[in-house]
């Protein structure tokens, strides 16, 4: 059952197609997820970068502010010029402001809460540092240099400043590490994404190749199945023709057998019997070869049949007048009409027009307008007549056969060909009219 095979193949193929599509969709969804993660990670890294940048900048300016204050104080202590103190004023407030901003920044940062304590420590240390700066400036104002030097040496100012540096640098180190980690993660994800996209590309390519191969296979399977179907139809047709042909051949053998037995029955002379059998079988063969053995409504032209059957009997130098329109005979009429024409021709040769030196033969046919009856309504012109007209000046030879088997054969064949026969003697010649019924359109 090739048809079943096709549907089975198609079913399997479409299942494979569906699986491939589902597989690809899944892969692309995964790819999209990986990409989204990479983008999110990059965004996070950028955000962390902005935060750490800000924290680093704030902590840097905090250190600069306290160093500015120190530089200004030292200039004043060394030179005693009030000009040097100008940058000092307001540094304490500026520092406090910057520290507050840094604190706010650090408080917002993730994982940096630990450093709020450090900033508390920085606040303490800076208060002490600024107090010492103020005191040393006050000693210098009073010109008490030894007290001033003592304060610088033993006041703990350096320790406070170092403490601030340690705390701030620790914070900065943390921030830098945090930034580095975020970017490393983003970079790693980017690399993974690139790899995933590359993999996706390769898989898509391979899948497309597989799908293409499948499509090619399916098309080939389909066309093979179609070819097989066509072949089967051809074989069935050939079988039918062969059966029909076999039937025709069997029938033909039966007809030949009956020609042999009926002719043998009618003739007493074996030579004459053999000759007649041969002529009749030949007429059968010629009629058969003309219709090609086909079972058709238009199997042979009447004119062709007349020519084919009578040609072997026409004596040298004689002409037969043929006239009539194109009329086609259906397959079932070709053989009996052929046999009738054969009988008429052999009789003409033996007793009729061709037995006398001046005899003539005219064969004419026409559609029979008078015999159309009800078929005329449908414009059916298939009723027709055939006239066989012999003229023998001075009269023909007496015809012992004409009441014999030849006549019987003509009458039987006429019935088979659905025709009526009329025979007359005119001017010493035979005149035969065959009137053929119209083919009823229902019969084919």
């Amino acid at each position: 059952m090739p048809f079943k095979a096709i549907t089975r193949t198609l079913g399997r193929t479409s299942l494979i197609y569906a699986t491939i599509v589902a597989f690809l969709v899944l892969l692309y969804v995964l790819g999209a997820l990986v990409m989204a993660r990479a983008v999110a990670s990059e965004n996070l890294a950028r955000r962390i970068g902005e935060e750490t940048q800000k924290t680093l900048a704030l902590s840097g300016s905090l250190l600069i502010t306290v160093l500015d204050a120190e530089t200004s104080q030292r200039g004043y202590l060394l030179a005693g010029e009030p000009e040097y103190l100008k940058p000092f004023s307001g540094k304490r407030a500026e520092f406090a402001q910057q520290l507050a901003a840094l604190r706010e920044q650090v408080r917002r940062e993730e994982g940096a809460a630990l450093y709020l304590e450090s900033l508390d420590h920085v606040a303490q240390l800076s208060t002490r540092r600024f107090d010492l700066l103020d005191q040393s400036i006050a000693e210098r104002d009073r010109n008490d240099i030894p007290a001033m030097l003592d304060l610088i040496k033993n006041g703990g100012g350096k320790a406070a400043m170092d403490g601030i540096r340690v705390e701030i640098n620790a914070l900065r180190a943390f921030e830098e590490e945090r930034l580095a980690q975020a970017f490393a993660r983003a970079r790693s994800l980017q690399e993974k994404t690139a790899a995933a996209l590359g993999f996706l590309l390769v898989v898509t390519f391979v899948t497309l190749i597989i799908a293409g191969t499948l499509v090619r296979h399916t098309i080939r399977a389909e066309s093979e199945a179609q070819y097989a179907q066509k072949l089967r139809a051809e074989r069935d047709r050939a079988d039918l023709i062969s059966r029909e042909l076999s039937h025709r051949v069997k029938n033909l053998f039966a007809v030949i057998m009956s020609i042999v037995s009926t002719t043998g029955r009618a003739e007493t002379d074996p030579r004459e019997a053999a000759r007649k059998i041969r002529e009749r079988v030949q007429a059968l063969a010629r009629a058969h070869s003309l219709s090609g053995g086909q079972n058709a409504q238009h199997a042979a032209r009447l004119e062709d049949l007349v020519n084919t059957i009578i040609q072997p009997y026409v004596p040298l130098g004689r002409e037969v007048a043929l006239s009539g329109p194109e009329i086609w005979l259906s397959a079932d009429r070709v053989t009996p009409v052929g046999l009738i024409l054969n009988e008429l021709a052999t009789n003409a040769l033996k007793y009729g027009a061709w037995a006398s030196p001046n005899g003539t033969l005219a064969i004419s046919w026409a559609f029979d307008e008078t015999r159309q009856g009800p078929d005329r309504v449908n414009g059916d012109k298939s009723a027709f007549r055939l006239e066989w007209q012999e003229k023998v000046p001075g009269g023909g030879v007496a015809d012992p056969e004409r009441q014999g088997f030849g006549t019987q054969m003509i009458e039987l064949s006429a019935i088979q060909a659905r025709a009526g026969v009329e025979k007359n003697w005119q001017d010493g010649g035979l005149d035969v009219v065959l009137r053929f019924e119209g083919d009823s359109p229902a019969r084919d």
């Binding site: 039937h247 009956s258 079932d332 046999l339």
Partner: protein
């Protein structure tokens, strides 16, 4: 053969020469022939008239099949033989179990003798 003398045999055959040959063969054996009928319509009307003792039926009649005649004869209990080149004889024998099949070409004497054998068998049993 005396038992078949004068029996009326219907001949249905669309090939004129074959019909003639069959008629000669049947008449030689002492039967009288009804027909021959060349078409289904004439065969049916002839069979309906009755007065038939047996029949020889060609299956294919110029595009029609003889089966309506066969059914009519079977109903009237008239024996018949098929004389055909068309069907597979096995199939035909399955449908009409009592009817012998003479595949074409069978010589008419054999067809006639097959039919008469059938007639004698029936006369012996009746």
């Amino acid at each position: 053969m005396s038992k078949v003398n004068g029996k009326r045999i219907l001949v249905v055959e669309d090939e004129a020469l074959l019909a003639l040959d069959l008629r000669f063969a049947l008449e030689d054996l002492g039967a009288s022939v009804v027909g021959p009928c060349y078409r289904l319509a004439t065969a049916l009307s002839t069979a309906e008239l009755g007065g038939i003792d047996a029949a020889v039926l060609d299956v294919d009649l110029a595009g029609e099949t003889v089966f309506p005649v066969a059914d009519l004869l079977r109903k009237a209990d008239v024996p018949f033989v098929f004389h055909t080149g068309r069907l597979n004889p096995q199939t035909l024998a399955e449908i009409y179990q009592d009817a012998p099949v003479c595949p074409k070409p069978t010589d008419p004497e054999t067809v006639a003798r097959t039919l008469f054998a059938l007639l004698e068998k029936r006369q012996a049993t009746h």
